[in-house]
């Protein structure tokens, strides 16, 4: 029968909602791009090379290993995403071999050794970042000042690092981190107060909506990793992912909620301000929290399966991030917190299976 020559036979269902793995990965990549573009504008063209090197290394590693296994897996876009996230987690002035090593480690060791996409038990990009952080700690903690600062200095301290060491030196009399930065003469762009030309000028009106000192943090006019600095653009990008249900609210809300409450309750004590006085806004926008909470903790593969499990996971990451940032010797804490909780995911999955229909005895209605 001529007219039936295209008819396919499959099992039901014969309809699909339309998503594919490739489309999900590609959506995340596209939503990440504004924050990356901002990083390149803020730190200069060299940071673009860092991003390109990480993506290229990740893609090539995946291509070679998959080829050796007789597969082709680049069309699911997950290698590009891993490479991009590795790049986003690099300081802008890092030597190019570091992101390359991080990407190779992420793909070859963390992902492909366990069987490729879907089998990795840890977020590959974060594992790569942590691997190189402990291997080249110097390079990985050297920050470049944003071009908008107009300073001649080639290095600058990150906000979190600056606050941490100032507190360790016990020289501050400030009541909070932003005040401490101001008193210590930590440079600002003037973005929040004065008019500003160039790239930063685009976001200046938004920065001015915040109290002095917070504007730079929110739009991303501070030293930091290439992709993590702009909380604003990361949040904007995530809106599409929330709408498309590629990320669900459980992990970000549990993560940020737990972290926020703990910071509010305890973080003020380091400044001698007692309980319930921590600067939540500062800690939300400083460092890699938004990148971690919206794009990395929500990685489908290395996070729990059920909503209940996601809540537990988010709470755990929030608690660990708080612990490392506020009480640890390390100024950041997002990457370590996430990969530690990644290790608990199988256990969480086991404990939080769905409730089966017809097992709960209902009362007579």
């Amino acid at each position: 029968m001529e007219e039936l020559k295209h008819v396919r036979i499959t099992t039901s269902p014969h309809l699909h909602e339309g998503s594919t793995t490739g489309r999900i990965m590609l959506s995340v990549i596209v939503c990440l791009l504004p924050a990356g573009a901002w990083g390149v504008l803020t730190f200069g063209i060299y940071s673009l090379y860092v991003l390109l090197a990480s993506v290229a290394a990740a893609v090539l590693t995946e291509l070679v290993i998959a080829r050796a296994l007789g597969r082709f897996t680049l069309n699911d876009w997950s290698a590009v995403l891993t490479g991009l996230l590795v790049g986003y987690n690099m300081p802008p002035s890092v030597p190019l071999y570091i992101p390359v090593v991080a990407s190779v480690f992420a793909i070859a060791v963390v992902k492909m050794t366990f069987g490729g996409l879907g089998r990795n038990w840890m977020n590959p990009a974060l594992a790569g970042r942590v691997f190189v952080t402990f291997s080249w700690t110097g390079f990985m903690t050297t920050w470049k000042p944003p071009l908008n600062w107009g300073t001649d200095a080639t290095t600058a301290a990150s906000v979190l690092g600056f606050v941490k060491s100032a507190l360790a030196d016990a020289q501050g009399v400030a009541r909070g981190p932003v005040e401490l930065l101001a008193q210590a003469g930590y440079p600002t762009s003037g973005l929040g107060t004065a008019g500003q030309g160039g790239a930063a000028g685009l976001l200046a009106p938004i920065a001015r909506l915040f109290p002095p000192g917070y504007g730079d943090l929110f739009v991303g006019n501070v030293p930091g990793c290439i992709g993590e600095v702009s909380a604003l653009l990361l949040i904007l990008g995530s809106i599409y992912l929330f709408v498309k249900k590629i990320i669900t609210w459980e992990i970000p809300v549990a993560y940020l909620g737990t972290f926020g409450v703990l910071v509010w309750v305890f973080a003020g004590r380091s400044f001698g301000a007692g309980f319930f006085s921590g600067d939540v806004l500062f800690h939300f926008f400083a460092g890699g929290l938004m990148l971690g909470a919206l794009y990395m903790a929500t990685d489908m593969v290395s996070s729990p399966l059920t909503r209940k499990g996601m809540l537990i996971f988010g709470i755990g990451v929030g608690f660990l991030t708080f612990l490392i940032r506020i009480y640890g010797s390390y100024p950041e804490g997002v990457s370590l917190a996430i990969i530690i909780m990644n290790m608990f995911v199988p256990m969480i999955n086991r404990a939080t299976g769905p409730v089966k229909f017809g097992l709960v005895k209902e009362g007579q209605s």
Partner: protein, 441 residues
């Protein structure tokens, strides 16, 4: 506006595509030149063939006898001569003996007025006997023999008799048209069932995307002063599954592995109730059913009263044929129906629809590894973890899959509908069930 009830856990919201045919009144499909009548078109044991090649059969004559309580009678849908006893594979994979009847002679019943039988005085056992005699099975698609469903042990109280007018499968609107056009007959059918089951309450559940049907039933119930409740339900697939429907309507859960009767309920599809009406009042065996013939590649989709055994091709022709070559032909709805590639396949008792999907809708996507998104778990209305079950089955660990609740799976397809990795989860579940049955011996 009051919030409409539905079941709480899982489920999906596919586009319903019902607009293609839900305004088209039911028409009589042409009498087929040959009717192919499988002996195994119901759940349970196949019927025993009573005729041979060359025999003359009359319309409505018993040609297949039920081989036990868990089986059903099969009748000839047309008068004529038995051409051969063939064997064929039905779209659901069952291999069945089939009686092929060539149309010949006169109709005994069609076009002739028959006197209505006085059923109100009949005892329930006799009514049940008529239903058994007429080969009535569940017409929602599962084709469970209705007499078994209605054989309630003495002393068991039936609190609810639920009429399933949900029709949650996209595209299908046969039940919708039936509710709308045969409202009075349907209510009489319910009265007959009420006489058999003696339930405390009668509830008719209809999804809110059929407002005209809800209105028609409510009006008719009021006019006839019946105490049936007509409940509008929030649209959500798979609400037409009887366990989910009962959850929506009564808040009770049928225990895992149990039957609706365990929570004091009996559920029948609207089409089944109409067939019961025809069987009891008109003494007409189950030889016809309403079929939606629809799809984006059909010239004129519609709803038809079809004689069982009619080849699918004849119905496609009645719809004006294909406007472009279809990508898939489905017997039943798009979520649970069976794909087929043969226009000679007969319409059987379980065929609620014939669906011709476009090539775009039927595009094949490569399967990629599970990325653990958890969408299948969120979508499963039975609280299962399809991804976990699939992995057990894939690894041949059927015992583990059974322990994880494989038998609770109704193959509704919600999991595969949302899976971004395009893993054939339902196929896996079917395989798992098949293999564990085989292992059990």
């Amino acid at each position: 506006m009051r919030k409409l009830p539905t079941f709480p856990g899982g489920g999906v919201h596919p586009h319903d595509h019902k607009g293609l045919a839900n305004q088209v009144p039911i028409r009589n499909a042409p009498v087929p030149a040959t009717a192919t009548l499988p002996m195994h078109q119901h759940m349970g044991a196949p019927a025993e063939c009573l005729v041979q090649a060359g025999d003359s059969v009359r319309e409505g004559m018993l040609i297949g006898k039920a081989t036990g309580p868990f089986s059903a009678n099969v009748h000839s849908s047309i008068p004529g001569k038995v051409k051969e006893i063939s064997e064929l594979y039905l779209p659901n994979g069952i291999r069945s003996k089939a009686v092929v009847v060539e149309f010949e002679g006169e109709f005994d019943r069609s076009g002739k007025s028959s006197e209505a039988v006085a059923w109100k005085e009949a005892v329930p056992e006799d009514l049940l006997g008529v239903i058994r005699e007429c080969g009535i099975v569940g017409l929602g698609g599962a084709t469970f023999p209705t007499p078994i469903k209605f054989s309630v042990r003495e002393g068991t109280r039936v609190e609810f008799f639920v009429v399933n007018g949900v029709e949650c499968e996209p595209f299908l609107c046969a039940d919708h048209r039936l509710l709308l056009e045969k409202t009075q007959e349907l209510l009489t059918g319910i009265e007959i069932v009420r006489r058999i089951l003696n339930p405390d309450r009668v509830v008719i559940g209809i999804e809110a995307n059929k407002p005209d049907a809800i209105e028609a039933l409510r009006t008719a119930v009021r006019e006839r002063q019946l105490d049936f409740r007509v409940t509008a339900l929030k649209v959500k697939y798979p609400q037409g599954d009887e366990k989910q429907l009962l959850k929506s309507l009564t808040g009770r859960e049928v225990p895992s592995g149990g039957l609706p009767l365990d929570i004091g309920a009996v559920v029948s599809n609207a089409g089944t109730v109409f067939a019961i009406y025809e069987a009891v009042v008109l003494r007409k065996p189950l030889i016809e059913r309403i079929v939606t013939v629809t799809g984006p590649v059909l010239a004129r989709p519609g709803n038809f009263k079809v004689r069982l055994g009619t080849p699918v091709g004849a119905l496609i022709e009645e719809c004006g044929g294909f406007t472009e070559p279809p990508g898939k032909l489905v017997a039943g709805g798009p979520m649970m129906g069976f794909a087929m590639a043969d226009l000679d396949q007969p319409v059987t008792k379980g065929t609620s629809g014939i669906l011709a999907l476009s090539r775009g809708q039927s595009r094949a996507f490569p399967e990629t590894p599970c990325i653990g998104c958890g969408r299948c778990i969120a979508a499963c209305p039975f609280g299962l973890s399809p991804t976990v079950l699939y992995k057990w089955i894939d690894h041949g660990e059927y015992e583990e899959a059974l322990a994880a609740g494989l038998m609770d799976c109704k193959e509704c397809g919600c999991c595969a509908y949302v899976c971004p990795a395009r893993i054939p989860l339902v196929q896996g579940m079917k395989l798992g069930k098949f293999m564990s049955r085989k292992k059990k011996g």
